[in-house]
Symmetry: C2
Subunit: 320 residues, 2 copies
């Protein structure tokens, strides 16, 4: 259905898009309905996930990437997945300010996920924000994640191209390379390449890549050195991101990744609907069950099973 909101978003209207993304975060039924309406208009953008621990210079790199992409006349969306303070309405200390230079550019749309619902739903809200920017006609959508938790890996699965950013050891402590996140990388960036230790990090990644299981993957991740703060190495990164997109299309991997993403979205939607459905059904029993669990009269697994069995008996009334 082409509602007024849909038409505005398809025309690239920033206010309508912002309002819809806010609605998605608040999980209003109206926003979910609009999401359905924009869905047919999505699937065109190149979605690039950028993951790295705090301090590697993600924001600076994304800042430089936006400028480089704009020089190539590509429109850009940015979804920053980052917790913000519920009482200040923003990160307390942060370097997001620098990114505001792009605010005046109509072809750049940046949104930070306010992430009010800590207990999950973030991956879903992020994917939805990506859909909104996709429908707006952004050519490339950058999704920035912190990359030290688990949810980031799921979010990375949403991307067509996953860029993992590292930086040389800063301070006295060894930076941990998280294998699970390393595994999802299509492109590695060692930022702050002017700092001591950059080559060590690059060698460590190289070593890891050579340990990859047989058969060797069709796409061999490249390791790029950047100095985002001096705008060095950014053009090769844009080239490599473009090359990966071409590889995805040529190899049939794009279709495969998008199917995986569709499956993830479907399962998320089922899960969330079923959960709220079941919680409504058992709402009256819930407090008593929680009490029983707290007093160790029953364990959570048995309590859950009881609910499921009740559920499944109702599903098959003739089996009684």
């Amino acid at each position: 259905m082409k509602t007024e909101t849909v038409n505005k978003i398809l025309a690239g209207n920033v206010q309508a898009a912002s309002r819809l993304i806010r609605g998605i975060e608040d999980e209003t039924p109206a926003a979910i309905a609009e999401l359905k309406n924009i869905y047919p208009h999505t699937g065109k953008a190149h979605i690039v996930g950028l993951t790295g621990a705090p301090g590697v210079g993600k924001s600076t790199l994304i800042d430089a990437l936006i400028a480089a992409l704009r020089k190539r006349n590509r429109t850009v969306g940015v979804v920053a997945v980052d917790p913000t303070s519920p009482f200040s309405g923003g990160a307390i200390l942060g370097d997001r300010v620098r990114m505001q230079q792009h605010c005046v550019d109509r072809e750049v749309f940046i949104r930070s996920m306010a992430n009010r619902g800590w207990a999950g739903g973030l991956a879903r809200a992020t994917i939805s924000a990506v859909h909104v920017m996709d429908a707006m006609g952004k050519d490339i959508i950058l999704v920035e994640t912190v990359g030290a938790g688990q949810s980031e890996v799921d979010i990375a699965r949403v991307a067509d191209t996953a860029v993992v950013i590292l930086s040389p050891i800063s301070g006295d402590e060894m930076q941990m390379i998280k294998a699970g996140i390393m595994e999802i990388a299509d492109i590695f960036v060692v930022n702050k390449a002017d700092k001591e230790g950059a080559n060590t990090i690059a060698s460590a990644i190289q070593f890891m890549l050579e340990m990859k299981p047989c058969p060797p993957p069709k796409w061999k991740p490249t390791i790029l050195l950047t100095e985002a703060v001096f705008n060095k190495g950014i053009e090769p990164l844009v080239d490599e991101i473009t090359r990966h997109r071409q590889y995805l299309a040529d190899s049939g991997e794009l279709e495969k990744r998008r199917k995986e993403r569709a499956k993830l979205e479907l399962i998320e939607a089922i899960e969330s609907s079923v959960k709220s459905y079941v919680l409504q059904e058992v709402a009256s029993d819930l407090e008593k069950l929680v009490d029983d669990i707290t007093r160790r009269k029953v364990d959570p697994y048995t309590a859950a099973l009881e609910i499921i069995n009740k559920f499944s008996r109702q599903l098959k009334p003739d089996a009684e």
Copy 2:
């Protein structure tokens, strides 16, 4: 039911406990069954969550904490929630090695969550590992999380006492203080307090705490300075952790937190069971639906709703 495994775990047997935790990670039905059996024997340990970004010195601090707790004759369990490489079987670069000095101490039990199933389930596996250590009779269980993602906040909700660890700015970039994580803290630790900037961090936290909404919370989080690597400030931290445990018991907050945890566990168990149940029911339709979503013939929300409606119609056959 007091199976052989349960008896062994209650007697503190490390091999039986390790085997069960491994089984939980692999989600074997046998492990889930044993979890039910140990559940009645849990609820005694003091669960302390320790959260901080990579590089703040968490492992060193935990290392020092273990030594201090052992000096007070307390038995200790540690659950380190940290991704490990599926091909190397361990963190590639890490400082977990130092903690191995406690390996020879029978009263210290340390487990790192191998975290094979990235797509969720980590919180559940972590809680389960805590239950195992609790049943083993550990007095205090330290849960170490990275604290930059979302799942960490959920895991922190599992703790009786949440300790948030920060450190002075290292390198050229401002360290971001994640408000969402700040909010859950019962105790703040500024580690590496000998480094420049420690007082700035402490002041920033103090400032944030003064912005807390009215009415003021009953427990006022303390800010402690430590130099874990020099074993400085550790005794006051142990004292503060103990004082918080006493506050929880006296104020009735312990009961409240444990009910919340029980609720979280019940909902997680329902969610996971219902999800697998539904996915079995729709398995035959799933591939077709995913294809339709990928081709934008249908959106995931509508597809999910169809499944739920089918489900709900089956639930209420007389409503047809």
